[in-house]
Symmetry: C2
Subunit: 117 residues, 2 copies
DNA sequence: CAGTATCCAAAGGGATACTG
DNA sequence: CAGTATCCCTTTGGATACTG
């Protein structure tokens, strides 16, 4: 405080929040998983395996666990035979919607920009 | 087309755009670099080294190169002695502003959510 | 069906020292 | 000042096979 070279509390808070968000949502698949769940509401493990082309069960399992740890999705075991498991977004995950929409917009504009040069 | 299990073109486009964006902006530091440049307009290498606490010159150099390749920042060598180099955002980088703001909002809400349980 | 186990290659990223 | 070079460890993530 008082020194010119000091960053404001506000800036520091924003940087911390940004770091948090980046860490939480890092990885190749997390956003795509969230997007699929936005579209479909509830999905089984095998459904996600199908729509996320190229993912392996090990990787999908790990990503889902991390999303669950961070309270962005729920995991529900159904009383069927054989057992099925359903994944769905939590209410808190709705906070990621603006991020995903913004990313999609950026991705579209970037692709357009690349093509048109 | 016509099959029920087919995904719409729109969905596929959105998934591709999302993948593109994630790939372009992946990594621990890129968003923080962009945020710093938003705040400061133009920064030198050593300025970024200072504000990005913990980054090493090798890593910073690589991140800056990738951002430049993707036309999100410009690199300008100044006629000073010793030589200095300035980095600044491109116009195209303004498309990332909504993403960054959304991430910050999410990061704040997430932290609040964690604390209050 | 919903994963786990094992193995492995590549990338990410940090520490340190050096250079034009 | 603005990097590069080298070394090295960890993480990510893919391939494949297996299990309750």
């Amino acid at each position: 405080m008082g020194k010119l070279e000091c960053e404001s509390e506000l800036k520091i808070d924003r940087k911390l929040a940004l770091s948090d968000a980046v860490e939480l949502l890092s990885g190749k698949w997390k956003f795509l998983i969230l997007l699929d769940l936005y579209y479909s509401g509830t999905m089984r493990f095998k459904d996600l395996m199908q729509t996320l082309k190229g993912i392996t069960p090990k990787v999908l399992s790990k990503e889902l666990q991390q999303l669950e740890e961070n309270m962005l999705i729920t995991r529900t075991v159904n009383n069927t035979k054989p057992v099925t498991v359903s994944y769905a977004l939590t209410e808190h995950a709705s906070e990621t919607q603006p991020v995903i929409n913004a990313l999609i917009e950026f991705g579209k504009k970037h692709r357009y920009k690349i093509i048109s040069k």
